[in-house]
């Protein structure tokens, strides 16, 4: 082996090693979560940690037996589903209008909406919900989640609508479609893949949201993030149950996002690259 080849080879080995370390760092918490969720109770507090054991689904069964976990899941699904659907019905026409008429001020407004710290909206929303006797009901939760589902719908979809040639809609007008019909029958179906991806991202952020649920939900409408947080505040921390619950919450989101990964960055960055 010549020295040049050797240097190249060492470079490749170091690169793969670094990649392995970095990947390990990002996967470590997921690894801990899954192993703890499957660990028999006796090994949970073992030190040094035990990684070879007979996996058990005991903790998952306990989570469902001891807590109304199914109703937490339903609450999360109803709130995130409604917030996403409503947000998109409102946000899609806005995205279309921005794409077709270059409404710069509307874009700026949406960016400002995304900047507002949610903590600062908790107090007015809590006081308003209290006044309307609606703490621990769905509507305030769904409405507050519009704060991010509308911006996600709008910002991600602007690009998709811009990609559709104006000529297609013009052809529809000539055939006698009204503009609304052209939007509904031409532009909307063509952006469907984008809408699905954007909806997945918006749903994920709504599903993950903790802050509004912490204040606006109660026993009847508790969502998954608040429920899993409750594991920590219980007197005796149940690490196995906590890990199982965390895995149950995270799993659907990770599956969703796996399919929408191409658009995730686009969604997070949306509006910034122009």
């Amino acid at each position: 082996m010549t020295p040049a080849q050797l240097r190249r080879w060492i470079g490749v080995v170091l690169h793969r090693l670094a990649v392995l370390l970095v990947t390990g760092f990002f996967l470590l918490p997921f690894f801990i979560m899954i192993t703890n969720a499957l660990k028999p109770e006796v090994y949970i507090n073992a030190y040094p940690p035990v990684f070879i054991f007979q996996p058990t689904f005991h903790h998952f069964a306990e989570v469902f037996r001891r807590y109304p976990f199914v109703s937490y899941m339903l609450n999360s699904a109803v709130i995130s589903g409604s917030a996403t659907a409503l947000g998109f019905v409102i946000g899609i026409p806005a995205a279309y209008a921005i794409a077709r008429y270059a409404l710069r001020r509307l874009v700026t407004l949406i960016l400002v909406v995304r900047m507002i710290p949610y903590v600062s909206l908790l107090i007015p929303w809590y006081l308003m919900a209290q006044k309307a006797n609606m703490v621990d009901t769905y509507p305030p939760m769904i409405l507050t989640h519009l704060l991010f589902t509308i911006p996600y719908a709008a910002m991600i979809l602007i690009g998709f609508f811009e990609d559709i040639p104006m000529a297609l809609e013009e052809a529809a007008w000539i055939d006698g479609c009204s503009r609304v019909e052209a939007f509904l029958k031409i532009a909307l179906p063509l952006t469907l893949p984008g809408i699905v991806a954007a909806a997945v991202i918006a749903f994920t952020y709504s599903w993950n949201n903790f802050l509004f649920a912490l204040v606006l939900t109660g026993a009847k409408t508790k969502t998954l993030p608040v429920a899993v947080y409750g594991f920590l505040t219980a007197d005796q921390v149940d690490w196995g149950g906590l890990s199982a619950a965390a895995a149950l919450i995270t799993a659907p989101v990770l599956v969703f996002v796996f399919f929408a990964q191409r658009y995730l960055i686009r969604g997070l960055v949306a509006g910034a690259i122009k």
Binding site: H15, R16, V22, T23, F25, F26, L28, P29, F30, I32, M33, N36, P49, V89, I90, A94, I98, L103, L106, L109, I110, V112, M115, I116, P117, Y118, V119, S120, L121, L122, I123, L143, L146, W173, I174, G176, S178, R179, V180, W207, N208, F210, L211, P225, Y229, F231, L232, W239, A246, T250, V253, L254, F256, V257, F258, Q261, L264, I265, L268, A272
Partner: protein, 325 residues
């Protein structure tokens, strides 16, 4: 269907006018309602209208209401009357050392987190810029922290940072490093939380910079190599200037959310120990929902909003300068 376009004298295709289309539809027995025409004329206004109304309801009105609350001593129970204080709450917060402490902690956390994410994220971007087997899988691994439920992952990190049984101290024991108390130690609380933030958001910066690296033309790098540029000077004089815009954008996009970080700070330290990690966000929340000082907390919340808008405006100007170059 409609008549085909006719050849006109000049050889250009003449498309039928919209009116002809309408006439055609009318002939088929489908008269157009007057309101459809009205809607058509005002699409530019009507399509954004629902979102404007929604923002007014979920954001505009609450902010206005909060401004009103912030001028009062406002108890959480609706049965106790509120007392008008004027700017009293604002005067109180400006003279409260706890406010200034939390402001400092907010910026300290943001600097550590975003700084770490930028350096680490750049390194990761360079690592995955190279072609290797399994690169797609590494990208998926990078997406996962960004999408996973923050509260759930914070609880796992809390478990990993447990001083006596946790995974992090176990890993440290391999390099014979002393055990740390992590977030339970007032001196280490903010760095520990920044480490968790780095875990959550480094991939975001890495993927943006990676997109930037892909825009660098291969020929430039090649010719610099032929001219004998070392890896270091290649990085300094070619890579860095060419992805500068992406770097600036990534930093802007992370700084604002970092200033508002709530989930993992609340779950892991709740602002403690000894208020060591009490950011402005946490302080606002605690005043409102632990001590039930709605008026004072509203004043804090508006101050926080103002700070974030000012920082955003400053960052936007920075970006405008970057862009023009």
């Amino acid at each position: 269907m409609n008549q085909p376009p006719e050849e006109s004298g000049s050889g250009r295709i003449r498309y039928p006018e919209r009116a002809e289309g309408l006439a055609y539809q009318a002939a088929r027995g489908r008269p157009r309602a007057a309101w459809t025409a009205l809607v058509d004329r005002h699409i530019r206004l009507l399509f954004p209208l629902p979102s404007l109304l929604a923002f007014l309801l979920v954001l505009g009105f609450p902010i206005g209401f909060m401004l009103y609350v912030s001028l009062h001593d406002w108890p959480i129970s609706p049965r106790i009357p509120s007392i008008f204080l004027g700017v009293g709450n604002y005067a109180a917060l400006l003279t409260n050392p706890r406010f200034w402490d939390s402001l400092w902690i907010t910026f300290y956390f943001t600097a550590l987190a975003v700084g770490g994410e930028l350096v680490f994220g750049f390194a990761v971007a360079l690592l995955i810029h190279r072609e290797f087997r399994g690169r797609g899988l590494v990208r998926v691994a990078l997406i996962m922290p960004m999408a996973a439920t923050p509260v759930a992952m914070s609880l796992i990190w809390n478990m990993m940072m447990e001083p006596s049984l946790g995974m992090l101290n176990y890993l440290l024991s391999f390099v014979r490093a002393p055990r740390l108390l992590w977030a339970a130690d007032p001196r280490w609380a903010v760095p520990s939380l920044a480490l968790i933030d780095i875990w959550f958001w480094t991939p975001f910066i890495a993927l943006i910079i990676s997109a930037g690296l892909q825009t660098i033309p291969e020929e430039i790098v090649e010719s610099a190599r032929l001219d004998g540029a070392t890896a270091l000077s290649l990085f300094r004089h070619i890579t860095l200037p060419l992805v500068r815009a992406h770097v600036v954008m990534a930093v802007i996009l992370r700084t604002i959310p970092a200033l508002k970080t709530f989930d993992h700070i609340f779950v892991i330290t709740g602002g403690g120990p000894l208020r060591a990690s009490e950011t402005l966000n946490l302080y606002t929340f605690l005043e409102g929902f632990e001590f039930f000082h709605m008026g004072y907390s509203s004043a804090l919340a508006l101050t926080l909003t103002l700070i974030i808008l000012v920082v955003s405006a400053l960052l936007a100007r920075l970006r405008a300068r970057e862009w023009s170059y």
